[in-house]
């Protein structure tokens, strides 16, 4: 079924949906410009603005009823693009996720950042992020999307580097931005190609004309968009920034680097479905990238002792699943988006849980220094375990439905991809169990000065809400294809609606593998003693611990040659071009220095040359006269 037509719209809540962007933007502006005066109440304003956006999003969702509406705001670049919004089921799903989870994380941050002198600035950046992310998903053309795309990149940069005084944080922020820019380059060139091909950058216009474009062009555009998506969503080969990004405060990791921003790549691929559907090659590459990343992320997750980095690896892996789903066409879109939403809940849940643990453990992140925390922080532990069960696909919890949907669809599409995805699920079972056992169970391996305690209610309440979502949301969205039908006007749907089977081969295999993984983890990290210092480990462990040598590869292939290139260029500029110019000047100066020796100071020598000149002139006159 084809997507529905887009209808210009101006009234009602939908017409006022720009408020969703404007409110947090206003909040950010007030907090940044207001300075210290707003220190006292700045965080409340931030939460309020985010909640306001959420309310608008809910109202718009209620009014939407499966329609697609465009709202023109103002002319941006005459002739090329305007700033206008597209409110449709796809964008509104994202809006709800962003503002909903975002608001919870805002609330959580009040507690988490309470001791930071710069809390106001933190909330300003969070608000800025929410505004940019909403612009990204709401924009009705690629230019607006790109503005939001870079806006979230900026917010991510600011928040990863929130503690600029930590050199690692400053470096991680820069790295994130630069790696993202590589992806942005792809997106930008993709936009150029779309402009020269279709003469428009609006989703509606392009999807209308896509049938006339050649498949080669569409494949090129698709691959370029995929490059952009890889950058933002930390997919191979642009994954290396995400693990470093954990330098940021934990709520940031939860909101930006787990629930929302990193899923923008999935959004882009789904939103540009009309391009990918015309380019099977590009689609295939999307699925391959997805599968490769889901495995890579899972492997990295298995070896990390830093709880946040472990979760980051898991995020990579889960986004790999979404990417895989997004590459499977209309059948996969709904599951990809569904997994995206449920992942937003349970991963945010777990990140905030990790933050809560760190909050109680003096910001210790090494899981080898945890152990036996269950009894000390019960709420955190229970909510974290609910998130854990959701992500490994424990039957009837959220992840079970959405991830299984993706695996099933992949299996239909291509057996190899399907089985690799199943293997990834098994790995998930292992590393997530490892995390839970190392953190909450086993012996207490705390540092002497650690006094773990439960976090305040302002932090635990969001955890509880998120964990409720982690339990029920998946089933609600997937059973009876609710999400698929809801999204259909925006992204289309397969002719034949999928039916959920609990006893399919893939599903059972997944469950079995997950169980094996969990049991293995129990034997290694639950039952056995966990050494406080990480053992050297096998080659594979080291490989995983080093992020599959991603950084080393980047350094060897890009950074070092880049440094050399820079040095050569600077040398060339100073010695080559400038040397040429200065050399020319020196040559002229030198020869003038020698030439001026002709000026001996003897008047008679000068007189001689004058007379010679006169003689030559006389001769010349004679010659001319004779001619």
């Amino acid at each position: 079924m084809e997507p529905a037509e887009i209808i210009p719209h101006s009234g009602g809540v939908i017409g006022a949906s720009w408020l969703m962007i404007a409110l947090p933007l206003l909040g950010a502006a007030i907090l940044l410009l207001g300075g210290r005066r707003t220190n006292a109440w700045g965080h409340y304003l931030g939460v309020l603005m985010s909640l306001g956006s959420f309310v608008v999003a809910v109202l718009a969702f209620l009014q939407l009823a499966g329609g697609r509406y465009s709202i023109r705001l103002f002319d941006f670049i005459p002739g090329i693009a305007d700033i206008s919004l597209l409110v449709d089921p796809l964008s509104i799903s994202f809006c709800l996720l962003i503002t909903g989870v975002g608001s919870l994380i805002h609330i959580y941050s009040i507690g988490y950042m309470s001791h930071d002198p710069d809390r106001r600035r933190f909330f300003a950046y969070l608000n800025l992020f929410v505004a940019a992310m909403l612009l990204l998903v709401l924009s009705s053309n690629y230019v607006g999307l790109f503005i939001g795309w870079e806006g979230v990149g900026l917010a991510s940069y600011l928040l990863i580097g929130f503690w600029q005084f930590k050199p690692t944080a400053a470096a991680a922020a820069k790295k994130a931005f630069i790696v993202n820019r590589v992806g942005d380059f792809g997106l930008l060139v993709g936009i150029f190609l779309m402009w020269t091909t279709f003469g428009s950058l609006a989703f509606g216009d392009i999807s209308g004309k896509v049938g006339e474009a050649s498949q080669g062009t569409l494949t090129a555009i698709g691959l370029l968009l995929l490059l952009g998506a890889c950058g933002k969503s930390a997919q191979l080969p642009l994954q290396s920034w995400l693990l470093d990004a954990m330098e940021g405060p934990t709520p940031v990791s939860a909101l930006i680097h787990a629930a929302t921003m990193v899923t923008a790549g999935v959004y882009l691929v789904v939103r540009s479905g009309f391009i990918f559907e015309g380019a099977p090659t590009a689609q295939l590459v999307v699925t391959i990238v997805g599968v490769a990343t889901l495995l890579a992320g899972a492997i990295i997750g298995c070896a990390k002792d830093d709880i946040k980095k472990g979760l980051a690896g898991s995020t990579m892996s889960q986004i790999g699943y979404m990417m895989l789903g997004a590459g499977l066409g209309p059948a996969g879109y709904a599951f990809a988006i569904g997994h995206l939403i449920t992942h937003g809940f349970f991963k945010a849940n777990m990140f905030l849980g990790a933050g809560s643990v760190m909050h109680g453990m003096n910001d210790e992140v090494n899981m080898r220094k945890y152990g036996g925390l269950f009894s000390v922080m019960k709420v955190t532990a229970v909510t974290f375990i609910i998130g854990y069960l959701a992500i490994i696909g424990f039957p009837l919890l959220s992840g079970y439905f959405t991830k299984d949907g993706i695996i099933e669809t992949a299996m239909h599409h291509n057996q190899i991809l399907g089985w690799l995805a199943v293997a990834g699920a098994g790995l998930t079972g292992f590393y997530m169990s490892r995390m839970v056992f190392m953190t909450f169970f086993g012996k207490r391996r705390w540092d002497s000065e650690a006094h773990p305690h439960e976090s305040p209610a302002v932090m635990t309440v969001p955890l509880i809400i998120l964990s409720i979502g982690s339990i029920f949301l998946g089933g609600y969205l997937v059973l009876s294809n609710r999400l698929m039908l809801f999204l259909a006007p925006a992204v289309g749907r397969p002719e034949e609606l999928p039916v959920f089977h609990w006893n399919s081969v893939a599903g059972l295999a997944t469950l079995a593998l997950v169980a094996v993984g969990a049991v293995l983890a129990w034997f290694k990290y639950g039952k056995a003693e966990v050494p406080e210092v990480a053992p050297r480990g096998s080659f594979v462990t080291v490989f995983a611990r080093r992020d599959l040598y991603g950084d080393a590869l980047n350094e060897a292939l890009l950074m070092r040659p880049g440094q050399w290139l820079t040095r050569i260029a600077v040398f060339f500029d100073n010695r080559g071009i400038d040397g040429l110019v200065n050399g020319l000047a020196a040559t002229i100066g030198g020869s003038s220095g020698r030439l001026r020796r002709l000026q001996t100071g003897f008047a008679r020598t000068y007189a001689l040359s004058i007379l010679f000149g006169a003689a030559v002139l006389a001769g010349a006159l004679l010659l001319v006269g004779n001619l």
Binding site: R604, T605, L608, A615, L622, N626
Partner: protein, 277 residues
Amino acid sequence: MGETITFWVLAVVSVGAALGMIFSRKAVYSALLLGGVMLCLAVLYAVQEAPFLAAVQIIVYTGAIMMLFLFVLMLVGVDSADSLVETLRGQRVWAGLAGIGFAVLVILAIGNALFVPEPAGLAAATEQAGGNVQALARLVFTRYVFAFEVTSALLITAALGAMVLAHRERLEPKATQKDMARARFAEGDPSPLPAPGTYARNNAIDMPALLPDGSVSELSVNRHIARYDVERGHLPDDPKLAEALKHAVEEEPVTERSHRHEQASSQETDSQAEVTK
């Protein structure tokens, strides 16, 4: 016919004088030979219907300018003969080449030019005004009046310039008679120089004086006369006197009096220098 003879005679004389001028060692000879050339040219002007210019040539050039030259020669020193050894490498050869080349080329050019066989003559031009001087005057005060006025400015400027250039700035106040007397007594020899021939055995001006104690005063002999005597061997028989004369010649450059004065002033400057230190 008369003109031709005049021309050839004067031409030969003037070229000869000019060559003599540039090759004579002594500047005074050069000046006199130049004067000769100018006189020849004056005559040639007269021959060529330019009586006014001939007069001006004699009055201004030979009369005024040449006199200035001679004055300056006297100031600078007549006796300093110019060494004719060339110091700049190749200057003479190249100068000769260039000079001859130039002359040949210009003469060739003149020979090449097409001139009317017979000069037009100035009769027509002067007749109307009633004479050469009147005709020139008419031109000077009509067509060339501006240039003429500018010339006057030039002359005034030149006169002023010469004054400024020749003027020597006085660095210290002019010595009064009192100062001079004081300086003389400060030197410790207030008496005038002894006159030649005092206590002499004969009254010749070239005999050194004898001081009351019987010693010979070298100061009493004019060094030019002494030199004359030494060069010609007219030395007195008394070896003591002869020795004094020779001595006077050897100490030629400065007279005793100026020598003394210089010493005094140098001491003065030394003490000044010490003060400033």
